[in-house]
Amino acid sequence: MSINIFLRNIGRFIILVFIQVFIFNNIHLTSFGVIPIIYIIYIIILPFETPKWLVLILAFLIGLSIDIFSDTLGLNASASVLIAFIRPAILNYLAPRDGYEIGSFPRVYYQGIIWFLKYSSSMIVIHQIVYYLLESFNFENIGVILFKVIIASAVSLILAIVSQYIVFRK
């Protein structure tokens, strides 16, 4: 049982990295070339029981893998580590009154679309803000950064929700 979950998570890790790097990195939205982020789904749907330190390390590893393939050394890693750090706080804040049901996962099927929308949108928006701020490393053209964050977050959020109905149904 536990070995099964372990293998499934490794497989999901590799597949999401490949889909991100070889498909979505080639999609450039608007004239600013905004790239939709899909690998973040991996961090979003990790089970509630995953140790917090493990989430940090997994987020770091998946961010670094994306960075190595797309030559953005450190950008995706730092954004992912940050959302892994605040993930417990967001989950806590959004938790129902008697906590999450045992055996349930942070997915639409178990928690409902409204809950998932709140949860994943906050994760994605924070990730994208950190990513684009670190990339430009100044606040000069804050309007452009804001525009990129909004477009990228909106498309990534749609992808995350669509994935809930197509791939991660249960």
């Binding site: 490949f18 790097v21 070889f22 990195n25 450039h28 600013f32 070339g33 905004v34 790239i35 917090k52 330190w53 940090l56 390390i57 770091f60 961010g63 670094l64 960075d67 190595i68 393939f69 797309s70 030559d71 953005t72 050394l73 450190g74 950008l75 890693a77 730092s78 580590v81 940050l82 892994a84 750090f85 670190l134 990339e135 430009s136 490393f137 452009v144």
Partner: protein, 278 residues
């Protein structure tokens, strides 16, 4: 000691977060073109392999366009051969120990397998590595002009920093007057870059050609960079603010040539000798 361990165990989550975040932000800030490592870039064996595979597939769709570009390049080379022949007739007696350009530089043909133009730091991956004789600091050009410089090399792939990188600059000169300056990319537009260090008293005009200066051992002199698109005088520091339109179209870059300068060692050792003394 026991207290310390207890504190670490208690706050392990925060400590781990701080450590990982420092590691990754360090990578962003201190990413050094000089010390770039092929293992931590898309030029490593694994990602190079997959990009190459993907490229083999997608190459089929651009064959017609590719043919057209190579044909125009051939045509221009043919024209320049004719010009050179005429030159040779004029100075047939030549007692010059400095090698002519054709002997001094060798070219390694290569293909772009991964490219980006929309980031702040853009890199290009090409499908030749040290097994093909490529080393760090070799220049890379396309048929239309300068592309970038090799910064990391693995066995079969190399990582090239393109002009479209805000941490990279290149020495250039105005073709008609030979005044030199430097080109940096600060615009975030893949068609334009900025030219600095051209003083106000020089006459320039829109459309003037900017070429590589050839002072460094990386590029031969006279390789196209772009044309002056617009300029304005800056009275406060007596230098122009110039925008140039890059001659290389990075969006459909495919065939590139890596330049090996055979006299590189001599030039660099001479320059370093002088640098140490003065």
């Amino acid at each position: 000691m026991k207290v310390l361990i207890n504190v670490i165990i208690r706050f392990h989550f925060v400590f781990l977060f701080i450590i990982l975040e420092i590691i990754s932000i360090r990578m962003v800030i201190f990413e050094d073109l000089e010390k770039k490592n092929a293992y931590f870039s898309s030029a490593n064996a694994v990602s190079g392999f997959f990009y190459k595979r993907l490229d083999n597939w997608s190459a089929y769709f651009s064959l017609a366009h590719e043919n057209e570009m190579l044909r125009t390049e051939n045509l221009e080379l043919r024209k320049s051969i004719n010009k050179n022949k005429r030159m040779e007739l004029i100075d047939i007696v030549k007692s010059d120990t400095s090698k002519t350009d054709s002997e001094k530089y060798t070219y390694i043909p290569s293909r772009v397998i991964n490219n980006s133009i929309y980031k702040k730091q853009n890199y290009i991956t090409i499908d030749k590595g040290f097994a093909d004789g490529i080393k760090k600091d070799f220049g890379v050009i396309s048929a239309k002009g300068v592309v970038g410089v090799v910064v990391a090399v693995s066995q079969h792939y190399s990582l090239v920093v393109s002009i479209l990188n805000n941490r990279f600059g290149i020495g250039v000169k105005v073709k008609k007057s030979n005044h030199f300056g430097s080109v940096h990319w600060l615009k975030n537009n893949y068609r334009y870059a900025s030219l600095f260090e051209i003083p106000n008293h020089i006459k320039i005009a829109e459309g003037d050609t900017i070429v590589s200066s050839g002072f460094s051992s990386i590029f031969p002199p006279g390789i196209n960079i772009g044309n002056i698109a617009k300029f304005k005088t800056n009275q406060s520091n007596n230098f122009y603010e110039i925008d140039i339109k890059l001659s290389t179209d990075f969006k459909n870059l495919y065939n590139v040539y890596v330049i090996d300068n055979l006299m590189r060692k001599e030039q660099i050792s001479l320059e370093n000798e002088v640098k140490d003394e003065y």
